[in-house]
Symmetry: C2
């Protein structure tokens, strides 16, 4: 969590961190700006000091909402530097960088570069600035980065927000269930009042509106039916009519409007009735889900033990898995879960290969076993997002029910 | 445009380019994937060859829509490599990189790294991979990058899409004008049928729904009234009721749902009536707008000449500008315009300092003069997006009218 940043910097011997990038969604920047989505701008944090924010003078008013100390680029003479460089960014930026080092009195030592941005520009800039200012080499890391580590646990303020987003997301699941239920079938096809088929595109439009009414935004939900449900990341075809008795994998992972915290959950629905094959597969996935929960004992436990338990269960049932058959596209083809926060995928990873990750108080993680047989027109996944609370208990924030069969009551 | 990529690579002596990054919006990746938004994945293009796409096996079905040759990470032995490295990404990735070089038969020479991603990871990875595979150093650039240059001009397929997005955006402007007009005033406050004030939040919700109904998404529109309109990038306060006679800067820059091409346009509205000060300022901005258009002659002309003409006009009228007073937050405080495409801000830049940018056939650019006096509760901006067509003419794709006063007809 955020209070870990100084020790995490110390462990890496970083005298400062700089978070930069363009106008893109930039989770480390949003994190340090207390959730305020700045369009551009740079955060500078010296070890042991509060972070400060440098933005274009046009963004000053928005930036002030971050509660950080805010400077405009022109407070660091950008306009003059840029003019002196005759509008050549390539010349101007290194001079500006010198002003940053000076303004924040950065002592000699390594500076960690973070943020989401243009890889091309920053790979070259980091090299160039390290050469020009040899007292302050700019460094990156591979593997588990400083922010990966900080994001692993959430503080009380973050959990409060995550719970709100979870509740709203569950309201949308409920509204979507009811929306579909209000329709009727003609033969095996779900139809609207006027007899036109209800399509996946119709449902997604409904879902996006419901999200928006709650100040959430879709980030490319999955609503995949039949064979498509057999590919874990197939988004579903907008023009496909909803059919009775087909498995539908509905994976909803919205975030706060304009960038912010996510919720992540999946339900599998079968409209009207479920075939024997779908019901049997669903039962196994629900058993896998319960197996996962039962395998959890306490914080400190390696996360891979939970995936191991699920792999054991599936393999005993004769399903290929990514452990028994790496790269398989049938059976159980993905990891059991992952952290969620300002990013949809964070650490810890619930993978049999992630040997170093452990459960910790403050984790916010998904548990999402599935089974996929596209050649049988079949895919099932069930996913809740869980918080590990102060007592070390695993608490689901996805409160929506897990019924498989969605009965129609339209007439 | 896309057909320029090989010459642009040759000019930089790049034997290959690799576009990578995480799950973020990644415009170079989307560009090469023909607009398909892949969640993760790497594009590899050897000079003179078609690009190929490497994705997780779970994304194969979605990736196929790109029309590129698609490989899964496991086609390059990722699962085995990751297992051999005991789940340590830090060890696994460099081995995988060797497979990429082999699979695509990359000859000795520089590889350009592009894409939007985690700066921290790639700054270190680029260093490490260049060291391990010295025949293929990984390089970046500052200044005008390869993709900056490619994005400067749009091909016929892109213009077709940009026109569609423009038309839909104008439909939303029209719908929003009509939506506000359907209300009535109580005193100076715009109110709904039930007498509650119509707020900026209400208008933004309406706009987002209208965008969504047209498969567009908001990327943080500006709807700023009164003093807020005086800060070019103030988003506006959701709880603020709409007032008669206040300038409202409405800057709408949506993109295709899920990531894609943008449109960018601004109107300034004053509900019911305009004060003399607002009307006078508006007239000057409209004259500046016409001055900009009149200054355009033909492709090849430096873009700064257009900004120079507008600066001359404003300065003659006694307004401070970023040329006469760099860093000013009053008067004319920003550049005249910018390219638009898969990014909201691209080259060319219409700045008096961008001496190298020229107008070209295939440009898609904004022209957006404004005047800002926050201390007088005042800000005005008018913006259309223009295409430079095959005949070299500047054609506005923002067809919505430029009336200042929005009369209410609710009763």
């Amino acid at each position: 969590m955020k209070s870990d940043l100084d020790p995490l910097m110390a462990a890496r011997e970083l005298v400062a961190i700089v978070i930069t990038g363009g106008e893109h969604q930039n989770t480390p920047r949003a994190y340090l700006c207390n959730g305020v989505d700045i369009h551009g701008g740079m955060v500078v944090k010296r070890q042991g000091s509060e972070p400060a924010l440098i933005v274009s003078s046009m963004e000053i008013e928005e930036a002030a909402k971050s509660d950080l100390t805010v400077y405009s680029y022109d407070d660091l003479d950008w306009a003059q530097i840029y003019k002196d460089a005759e509008g050549d960014q390539k010349k101007a930026f290194p001079v500006f960088w010198g002003r940053v080092l000076e303004k924040f009195a950065i002592p000699p030592g390594k500076i960690g570069l973070y943020g989401t941005g243009d890889l091309n520009v920053w790979v070259e800039r980091a090299r160039q600035l390290s050469e020009m200012y040899p007292d302050n080499p700019i460094v990156g890391e591979t593997g588990m980065t400083l922010f990966d580590q900080a994001f692993v646990t959430k503080d009380a303020g973050e959990i409060h927000i995550l719970r709100e987003v979870a509740d709203k997301t569950c309201d949308v699941l409920r509204a979507t269930w009811d929306y579909i239920a209000r329709h009727r079938a003609e033969g095996e096809t779900v139809v609207k009042a006027d007899g036109a088929p209800l399509t996946i595109g119709d449902v997604k439009r409904f879902v996006r509106r419901e999200l928006m009414d709650r100040d959430l935004e879709d980030t490319d939900m999955i609503f995949a039916q039949g064979r498509d449900a057999g590919f874990p990341h197939s988004r579903g075809s907008a023009n496909m009519p909803l059919q009775l008795g087909q498995p539908i994998v509905f994976d909803l992972f919205p975030r706060q409007l304009g960038g912010g915290y996510y919720h992540d959950c999946t339900r599998t629905w079968s409209i009207g009735y479920a075939t024997e094959a779908v019901q049997a597969t669903y039962n196994q996935v629900m058993t896998a889900f319960q197996t996962a929960l039962d395998s959890y004992a306490e914080p400190g436990q390696p996360t891979h033990t939970m995936q191991d338990a699920v792999l054991d269960y599936y393999e005993a049932g004769g399903h290929p898995t990514i452990r028994s058959k790496p790269g398989t596209s049938e059976g159980y083809v993905h990891g059991l879960g992952h952290g969620v926060g300002l990013n949809i995928h964070e650490r810890p990873s619930l993978s049999h290969l992630a040997k170093e990750d452990i459960f910790q108080k403050g984790n916010f993680i998904t548990i999402e076993p599935g089974l996929y047989y596209p050649d049988r027109g079949l895919g099932v996944r069930v996913e809740d997002s869980f918080f590990i609370d102060e007592a070390g208990a695993l608490v689901s924030l996805t409160t929506f029910h897990k019924e498989l069969v969605l009965p129609l009551r339209g007439s």
